[in-house]
């Protein structure tokens, strides 16, 4: 029996009810506990060294049963979803923030957007919801009319303040100096040293989760591909996989492999851009231009072979819509040869440059114990010694074929900017290696398989390792089989907390460098 299942049963006994034939894939366990046992369940998970992957709410009035609060825990390759039912006339639930730190923002978001109050939560300031929204606007509730603009009301956000002699404050954003997304950062500093950073996000909240509810299942992949433009492939794969698991659609091997090739190419392109940009923020512009050149080459090959520079909208429910022929394969292999050689030369230059090393070593350290406490994912987790990668743990096809695709990603433990660059360098090389493997061994078959629509009252889950890290989708079909809820958990939703912690004690001029080394998505977080 799975570890998490055993742990929750031994701790809660008969109070846990495992629900079969509702949530797919069946490998992800799904159970219901009474509302007052929610924290006990969290404690049982904590004792088992599980991490909190996501926490979200659903409005289940269409099923005639109030609200649902869900917490998804991860341990190794296992996922366990714990659900509590909340009556409509008493929308409150026990907070688990004191047990799992990342619940801090998840629960603020649940309160702000769904109006279900986390009891004993240490900080109930709204999140995503701004102070000028009407107080009773809860967009994720079914009764909320999402098509109408909301009036602005007066209100104020209570910033955390540091006081004392010589403490000053630097507000930054939402419109930043570079070509990046909007968000607000408030630093409290003494001299050059940052003593606290408070993030304020939500500026690019486009109402994506609500939007999904008004779309048809077969169209949602396009919206998923635009949750975070730089991760378009991974998000559409995650959406499609969740939908496919609900409907029992089996993809051809070829479709799985092509998806993986797209995913790895997305990883390469973004990592190249990041390595360059990190160096640029340490005034090493040479590397930025060299990496941007390589990135452009990858994007152009994408355009030529697959018809889009970021391979947007090419992953659809049931498979993919573009194929690769023999000529295309040769072209990609030649591109990868050139890329691998040039990349190695650039990495040598990076490694031998003492002035860049001086900037990136011991800067923005996220200690392994902090990383575990915050349940961060992806490159940020791996740079802090937390070996999480859904391509290895809870692998999805084709990564589950360990005899054919074996992955070896670096997991340093220093947690500084240097480590995050090191992970990216290692992953670019791994991605090049496995794309070559996949091209050589590409199975034959159809590109798409027919997808039926989900039946009423079922749910689908997926976890996909995008270039930033684990992306989770949880889809729920309503009483008529329509989209009742589409929960999106981008890696940024948890990793932004990591940046706040990593910055303590660093100097203000190193903030861009640290921020770039995390490079989290604002859009993926704000939704």
């Amino acid at each position: 029996m799975s570890i998490l299942k055993k742990a929750i049963i031994s701790s809660l006994g008969k109070a846990v009810q495992f629900i079969e034939a509702y949530q797919y894939p069946v490998s992800v366990h799904y159970c219901a506990v009474p509302r007052e046992k929610f924290t006990d369940a969290a404690k049982a998970m904590k004792n088992e060294y599980a991490l909190l992957a996501a926490e979200w709410a659903t409005d289940e009035t269409l099923f005639g049963r109030g609200y649902g609060i869900f917490a998804c825990y991860r341990w190794g390759s296992e996922y366990l979803i714990v659900k509590i039912q909340i009556p409509a006339d008493d929308p409150a639930f026990p907070s688990i923030t004191n047990i799992f730190l990342p619940a801090y923002r998840f629960e603020r978001q649940i309160e702000s957007l769904m109006g279900v109050k986390p009891l004993n939560h240490p900080d109930l300031r709204p999140w995503i919801k701004f102070e000028d929204w009407p107080q009773d606007a809860y967009p994720l509730r079914k009764s909320f009319d999402a098509s109408r603009p909301m009036p602005r009301v007066a209100g104020q956000y209570d910033w955390i303040k540091a006081e004392g002699e010589g403490v000053y404050e630097i507000p930054v954003g939402p419109v930043h100096a570079g070509i990046i997304e909007p968000g607000h950062f408030r630093f409290q500093a003494v001299g050059e040293t940052i003593i606290n950073l408070e993030e304020r996000l939500g500026y690019v909240h486009k109402g994506i989760e609500k939007r999904f509810e008004s779309m048809r299942w077969e169209d949602g992949f396009r919206l998923a591909g635009r949750v975070s433009g730089d991760t378009t492939v991974a998000h559409s794969i995650a959406y499609c996989m969740a939908l496919e698991s609900m409907t029992g659609c089996a993809l051809t091997e070829r479709a799985h492999w092509l998806r993986a090739i797209f995913l790895e190419r997305e990883r390469i392109a973004n990592h190249l851009g990041d390595i360059g940009a990190i160096c640029n923020d340490a005034a090493f512009a040479f590397m930025l231009y060299q990496m941007m050149r390589l990135k452009e080459m990858v994007l152009r090959t994408n355009l030529k072979l697959f018809g889009h520079r970021f391979i947007m909208d090419k992953v659809v429910p049931g498979g993919v819509v573009v194929d690769i022929d023999e000529k295309g394969k040769q072209e990609m292999l030649a591109e990868l040869d050139y890329l691998a050689k040039d990349f190695d030369r650039l990495v040598d230059i990076y490694r031998e440059n003492p002035s860049i090393e001086d900037r990136v070593r011991d800067t923005g350290v996220l200690k392994p114990e902090k990383a575990r406490e915050l349940c961060v994912v992806g490159i940020v987790a791996r740079a802090s010694g937390l070996n999480l990668d859904c391509r290895i743990y809870h692998p999805f096809p084709p990564y589950d074929q360990h005899d054919r695709i074996e992955l070896d990603v670096p997991v340093p433990i220093t947690g500084d900017v240097y480590a995050r660059v090191k992970v990216r360098i290692g992953e670019v090389r791994e991605s090049i290696r496995i794309i070559r493997l996949m091209l050589e061994d590409l199975p034959a078959g159809r590109l798409t398989s027919p997808v039926t629509l989900p039946s009423a009252e079922c749910a689908g889950f997926s976890a996909v390792e995008g270039w930033r890290g684990e992306i989770i989708y949880w889809l729920q079909a309503g009483p008529k089989g329509e989209v009742n809820r589409c929960m999106v958990r981008d890696p940024s939703s948890v990793n932004w907390l990591g940046l706040e912690q990593a910055i303590h004690g660093n100097i203000v001029p190193d903030f861009p460098l640290c921020n770039k080394s995390f490079n989290q998505s604002y859009s993926g977080h704000d939704l």
Partner: protein
């Protein structure tokens, strides 16, 4: 250091000319761009980019026009850190409710005469996000727009083309 120099020499100048039809397009756009920038903006066009709610796809392509291959700086185009000395706002959308005020403030902080270019399908009309409680739709719902560059996201060549179209209106 010697490795850096060697890599620079090995790379050479990668700025277009490029194979295929992209070249012709860029060359053509580029030549006209440079001339217009020289004539109307004394050789330098300062752009302030504002993300008013995009998915960051458009930002990737705006970054790309700064890469050594498209190298927009050769036409005198550069991106500034502040709207206070910008000639043009390059706005990606859709404009979210939470960014509306910041966008208006940025617009007001930009000295007149100024140009506004709406980038991407979402910047043009709200795109897939449409109009809702959180998304107000295209950029023109909030501030006057001079030129639209559609595409999801628009290619770097389309971006350069759109910028040219905007400054030839000036």
């Amino acid at each position: 250091m010697i490795r850096i120099l060697r890599q620079i020499f090995r790379t050479g100048i990668v700025t277009e000319p490029l194979p295929g039809e992209v070249t012709a397009e860029i060359e053509q756009v580029g030549a006209r761009l440079e001339e217009t920038v020289r004539k109307r903006f004394s050789g330098s066009l300062a752009i302030r980019q504002v993300d008013a709610g995009s998915c960051n796809g458009c930002e990737l392509e705006i970054h790309a026009i700064n890469n050594p291959i498209y190298n927009c700086e050769r036409y005198g185009i550069h991106f500034t850190a502040s709207p206070r000395f910008a000639d043009m706002l390059l706005v990606t959308g859709p404009v979210t409710r939470n960014m509306e005020i910041a966008l208006r403030r940025t617009y007001n902080a930009t000295p007149s005469p100024k140009l506004v270019v709406a980038v991407g399908d979402c910047g043009c009309n709200g795109g897939i996000f449409g109009e809702s409680y959180a998304s107000l739709g295209g950029v023109s719902k909030i501030i006057p727009v001079d030129v639209y560059i559609p595409g999801c996201p628009p290619t770097p060549a389309a971006l350069l083309n759109g910028i040219l179209k905007a400054i030839s209106k000036f």
